[in-house]
């Protein structure tokens, strides 16, 4: 078994073992072991990647290709570049943290962990696919467990949110399917055979008309899961109703499929279409950035605040991708990673606060810094990272994005850049407002004095997410190099 296929088989084996467990204790131990193995594999992959890259300059390394459906030229085709390695690492960390955060899942624990792992299979598979068909399969595998995860273990209007999320994302994947078929049937433009292989398609000159027609379909299909305005509405409701670990995975990992798919499929394979449509989608992305920030300003529910903040931050990712510039692309990938760790951390902390105080309403909370200092301090750190303070991951990402974006020589794009920069100010306002009201200030409820201190498994989950945030902020270069190197084929194809 090669190093990449293990990312799919290990969760499958974990699930098969889980089926035979009884009760919470067994289920969580097995899931933890499985996730730790994944985590170690991801770390190992990073080192293996650096070693391999030194001797191998193929676009995708560790590539493997097995024919699956030969009539349609569908292959089981996998491989990674620096971008996917970084995202795989992110996924494994968030999943492991998610398992720790769900340590006390009382209702149907076995089923919960199984669904969580199915979701992770979808995400892992998506990031290692080179074949469009495979990618699509894993995309849907990642989405459908969300229905059960939110519907069964969620809170509030869980049935509504679960259905809304599933239908919007599946609707998007339906649009995407047409886009993929459109690409597929134009891959013989240069006289070759029809193919789903991304690397092969990138060599084909797809006719301009087809690019213009299928770029929006492919772009929207992926961007919905990346919370593109106005298709972001599934995301806040979904976040708010989901249980903690699911919110973490959802915001931390699942939404990253959007940006990755847009970059790897829509823009890489249809570069002319991207040039033709970029002005339109960039306006939508900027609206998302601003709108998300202002919406977060008005919310009082902690989860909604972070959900809208995600819309804003991921809007920046799409914005940076569409700027068609090397530096801003680098920033977009960094922002994906940084946001993944940050939001997962936020949702984990919110979950802990909610578990103790039974409310997520900012106006009802106060003075938490005095009673649960560890959680509160980490919340402040996460907040500072989110508003882009130097020294944390958010700064590196946003710096790259805006420096790159402002290099665009068209006035229209520069103005848009200035508009999106202003969202950072709004971000600072809503973050600091929450920190001020909820963490500082007087303790406004007697019951809060008896709040339980943070437990070992919670600490573990928090630290797992906190370390990369600080690490990326302090030493961004090794990661940035890894990504920049992998941007080369994109630069050749698009710019």
């Amino acid at each position: 078994m090669d190093i990449l296929s293990l990312f799919i088989t290990v969760p499958i084996i974990t699930i098969l073992v889980l089926v035979f467990t009884k009760g919470l204790k067994q289920a969580r131990i097995i899931s933890m072991v499985g996730s730790i193995i994944q985590f170690v594999m991801a770390i190992n992959l990073v080192f293996a990647y650096f070693n391999e890259r030194a001797v191998n300059d193929a676009i995708m390394v560790f590539a493997k290709d097995v024919v699956w459906f030969k009539q349609f030229n569908i292959h089981y085709s996998i491989g990674v570049d620096g971008i996917s390695v970084a995202l795989l690492l992110l996924t494994s960390i968030v999943v492991l943290a998610g398992v720790f955060i769900s340590w006390k899942m009382k209702d149907l624990p076995k089923e919960f962990f199984i669904s969580l792992l199915v979701l992770s299979i979808g995400v892992y598979g998506f990031f290692i696919s080179i074949d469009l068909f495979m990618m699509f399969v894993f995309f849907e595998i990642a989405v459908i467990p969300m229905y059960l995860l939110i519907g069964i273990w969620g809170t509030g209007p869980r049935e509504y949110s679960a259905m809304k999320l599933t239908l919007m994302l599946m609707g998007a994947s339906a649009v995407l399917l047409v886009g993929i078929l459109g690409i597929y049937f134009n891959t013989n433009a240069d006289g070759g055979a029809l193919t789903f292989n991304i690397l092969e398609i990138a060599q084909v000159n797809i006719p301009l008309e087809a690019q213009k027609l299928f770029f929006p379909l492919t772009f929207i299909g992926f961007a919905v899961i990346g919370a593109l305005f106005p298709f972001h509405t599934w995301s806040p409701d979904g976040h708010a109703s989901a249980p903690t670990a699911v919110s973490m995975l959802h915001a931390g990992v699942l939404m990253k499929l959007g940006g990755y798919g847009v970059f790897r499929v829509a823009m890489y394979l249809l570069p002319e279409g991207a040039l033709h449509w970029s002005w339109f989608f960039i306006v939508l992305a900027v609206i998302g950035v601003i709108y998300g920030a202002f919406a977060a300003l008005k919310q009082t529910d902690l989860k909604y605040i972070n959900a809208y903040s995600s819309v804003s931050h991921l809007g920046l990712v799409l914005f940076a991708l569409l700027m068609l510039n090397k530096t801003s692309w680098n920033g977009a990938i960094l922002q994906s990673l940084s946001h993944g760790f940050m939001t997962a951390l936020f949702f984990a902390l919110i979950g802990m606060i909610y578990e103790r105080t039974h409310t997520r309403d900012v106006t009802k909370l106060g003075g938490l810094l005095k009673v649960i200092p560890f959680i509160s301090v980490v919340y402040v750190i996460a907040g500072l990272a989110s508003l882009g303070l130097p020294g944390f991951s958010g700064f590196v990402a946003e710096m790259n994005i805006f420096v790159g974006a402002f290099q665009h020589d068209n006035m229209f794009y520069r103005i848009l850049t200035i508009i999106s920069v202003s969202a950072i100010v709004v971000t600072a306002v809503y973050i600091l407002r929450v920190v001020g009201v909820m963490l500082m200030g007087p303790i406004n409820n007697e019951a809060y004095l008896k709040l339980e201190r943070v437990t070992w498994y919670e600490k573990f989950g928090i630290l797992l997410l906190l370390i990369p945030i600080v690490g990326m902020g302090v030493a961004p270069l090794w990661l940035s190099d890894m990504i920049l190197e992998s941007l080369q084929p994109f630069i050749q194809a698009v710019l």
Binding site: W68, F133, V137, G151, V178
Partner: protein
């Protein structure tokens, strides 16, 4: 005439022999052992299924009236497996409700006659054989739909089915007579040579198509479906929606792709419109259904609309994707009907509301149902996804992007109502949930086969390659 050529009709002869044997056995069987007729029938049919898997010679008989080739043979095997699973799933119902009224044997004789009719229909080499097969496959089903004579709704279903089926075959026959009038022959091979698009032949095509559309329950010929499914015993509803529909799709495909191929520029428009109508209307009606049988009825109408996406392109790729989809659809739908059957037999409940909280009391049944619904909805990695995706590829290969787009929108709509059932089973908690019960051996076996089918058929790619190779036989 060489008697060994009768081996071409091996499947038909064997099935007929089984039906006759069952009648004879019943006469000599002591009264207190009547329920073992079910076991015997399942055993004999199981042997028939296994024998079916042996390779068969290709050829034709009776001066071209009866054809067989590997594709047709494969399709008969699909029908066989479907009927076998269906028998397993209805064994307990038969033992409890039917054999006790001394009507076990007739059930099998009628069912097998209908299956025999389908064999002849898909093997037909001329319109006479086709029409005989059509009638033979329909009439026994009408009797079976009315089989639960103690229930008024069942008799109503029988009458509805026989009336609409009679009308449909009448219309079809009228169409055939027009085709005969323009071409002067009822033999498929002769018609291919001479048929051209004249007003009369186009009218014949339309009427003939309408007749078969009744059987596949394409919109606007679908009105009988929900009522009949609701009234008929579940095994028969399942038979109608899986076996009967599958066979009708197959013969329609053969006729469109071979005999009526010269009129393709006409029928591709008809199919285009009907595909959109069938998918959309089937889905929209399914949204509000409460009764599981009616729900599955509309869902199967919508599924038929998707099948048309493969039919519209009229080539080898179309044939392969349609056969592949029907094969998967057989397993998915049988799994869904099987669960409905099991629950209905145990508790008599058939509404979606009754399924609330089912996962917490009967987790295995709920999982089977969920897999079946995901397969029908086309969620990977279960088989239904592959079936649908390939149909979309087929339609897109000829540039029908708009049709594919409408279809994928419909997939999303259909996901909503399939998830409603999942919601009831998994998300809801209910005080009055159906209590835990054990399924009997036959039912378990019937469900396990379908689940294996749903899980394996899609991921196992050589199967599709095999079907694709067989599909070249048709053209």
């Amino acid at each position: 005439m060489d008697f060994s050529s009768f081996l071409l009709m091996r499947q038909e002869i064997l099935l007929l022999a089984i039906a006759l044997l069952l009648i004879l056995t019943e006469i000599f069987m002591p009264q207190n052992k009547k329920s073992s007729i079910v076991d015997l029938a399942i055993f004999l049919f199981g042997i028939h299924v296994i024998i079916g898997f042996f390779a068969i010679e290709e050829g034709s008989m009776f001066g071209g009236m009866f054809n067989t080739n590997n594709l047709i043979h494969f399709f008969k095997n699909v029908l066989n497996v479907g009927v076998f699973v269906l028998l397993l799933q209805s064994a307990d119902w038969l033992k409890e409700k039917i054999v006790t009224h001394n009507r076990g044997t007739e059930f099998f004789v009628l069912l097998f006659s209908s299956l025999l009719g389908m064999y002849f229909m898909i093997s037909a080499g001329d319109f006479l054989m086709f029409y005989l097969g059509l009638e033979l496959s329909t009439l026994p089903i009408a009797a079976l739909a009315a089989y639960e004579t103690t229930k008024r709704i069942s008799s109503e279903a029988g009458i509805k089915l026989i009336l609409s089926a009679a009308l449909a075959s009448g219309v079809s026959l009228f169409g055939i007579s027009m085709l005969y009038a323009t071409t002067g022959s009822i033999y498929f091979n002769d018609i291919i040579e001479v048929i051209t698009a004249t007003n009369l032949s186009i009218l014949g095509l339309i009427l003939f198509f309408a007749g078969l559309a009744f059987k596949i329950s394409l919109v606007p010929f679908h009105f009988w479906t929900a009522d009949v499914y609701e009234g008929a015993p579940i095994s028969i509803a399942s038979y109608l929606s899986v076996i009967s529909k599958g066979a009708a799709v197959f013969i329609l495909m053969i006729l469109l792709f071979t005999v009526l191929k010269p009129l393709m520029h006409i029928w591709e428009h008809i199919i285009y419109v009907i595909a959109i109508a069938t998918m959309s209307i089937g889905n929209l009606f399914a949204l509000r259904q409460q009764n599981m049988k009616r729900f599955l009825a509309f869902s199967s109408i919508a599924q038929a609309g998707f099948i048309l996406l493969g039919l519209i392109i009229g080539n080898q790729l179309g044939t392969a994707t349609v056969v592949y989809f029907v094969l998967i659809y057989v397993f998915s739908n049988l799994a869904a009907f099987g669960v409905v059957q099991a629950i209905s037999l145990e508790t008599g409940k058939e509404n979606i509301n009754d399924y609330e909280g089912l996962y917490r009391t009967n987790p295995k049944l709920s999982l089977v149902m969920m897999l079946a619904l995901f397969s029908l909805a086309g969620i990977p990695p279960v088989a239904g996804f592959f079936g649908k995706f390939f149909l979309f590829i087929a339609a897109a290969s000829e540039g029908y992007y708009i049709l594919v787009f409408i279809a994928v929108v419909n997939v999303t709509i259909s996901l909503y109502y399939y998830l409603l059932v999942v919601r009831a089973m998994f998300l809801r908690k209910s005080e009055s949930a159906i209590p835990f019960f054990e399924n009997k051996l036959y039912m378990r076996l019937g469900l396990i086969i379908t689940v294996l089918g749903i899980l394996i058929l899609g991921l196992y790619s050589p199967l599709y390659d095999y079907i694709f190779e067989l599909s070249s036989k048709l053209l």
